[in-house]
Symmetry: C2
Subunit: 159 residues, 2 copies
């Protein structure tokens, strides 16, 4: 039925910032990322969810090297927004399954998540696009996760 | 500095399901998406955030046509998980900025979000990949959002 996973990628040494209780109003996301851009922070993935009560959760991943200086940058951004809370976590890796039609089928996502679950790997964050499913996991689980997902999709493990 | 937005895409008639208070343990995501796959639901984007208290928020978009039958599917999934809450919202469009190096710079995200803010468009969800920044907005704001972002990135509006 046309679902294909062409390959996997592993990106390591990622940190994650989760901003909670962010006011859900136009201009807020712009101010957060303008503040990060001005501070020279290189942002990897961005995810935002809302639970419908006027606030949003905005999370983004950054490379470990960018985390050292980020705390004051976040404090300034939240002060400027008049609210919100920032949590910084380190030690993640991102496993991405890349292919045509990958995320257009819940079955491919289910197969990837099942492989991770059976390997005992917890999924911290999920972000997808038309051609990719990306999961953030504990950095310590990176190799185990890659092997499990490779097996699940019948891909040859190239190193 | 190598940031390029090559084009924009608009996808309309999207609904969104947000599952809150989902147990943050291995196997949970697999069960959610296996349940959706078995029910034949076509999933567009998937986003998951966690706020560190043992629960996660898992959201996904689906085309309006798939929403009609989804309520009992979600109830069965949550019953099987032993917890969680599902919210279904309709009437969204997704604006995606596509390019090389698009999301690797907080500045490009900031510019896109600022254009939307200045057009008075609220950003409901954000999901990115290496080559794309996708925002979910009110369907009614679709045209206005596309024009604002096209202008911001100096792209020609091809109809
Ligand atoms: C939370 C944030 O994304 C807000 N909704 C905005 O449009 O900027
Ligand atoms: C919440 C869900 O993603 C869970 N952490 C899992 O690994 O399946």
């Amino acid at each position: 039925e046309g679902i294909a996973v062409a390959g996997l990628a592993l990106k390591t040494k990622l940190g994650r910032v989760t901003l909670t209780k962010i006011p859900d109003a136009p201009g807020v996301a712009a101010r957060i990322f303008a503040g990060l851009a001005e501070a020279g922070v290189v942002v990897d993935d961005i995810i935002q969810t809302v639970v419908g009560d006027g606030v949003a959760t905005v999370a983004f991943t950054v490379e470990h090297s960018d985390l050292a200086a980020i705390k004051p940058v976040l404090e300034a951004i939240l002060h400027n927004l008049g609210g919100g809370h920032a949590t910084i976590d380190v030690g993640f890796s991102k496993v991405s399954a890349v292919g045509v039609g990958v995320r257009s089928h819940a079955g491919v996502a289910a197969a990837m998540f099942k492989a991770l679950a059976e390997a005992g790997v917890n999924i911290a964050n999920i972000t997808t696009s038309e051609i990719k499913i990306g999961v953030l996991i504990d950095q310590a689980d990176g190799e185990k996760a890659m092997q499990a997902v490779h097996r699940a999709f019948g891909l040859d493990r190239a190193v």
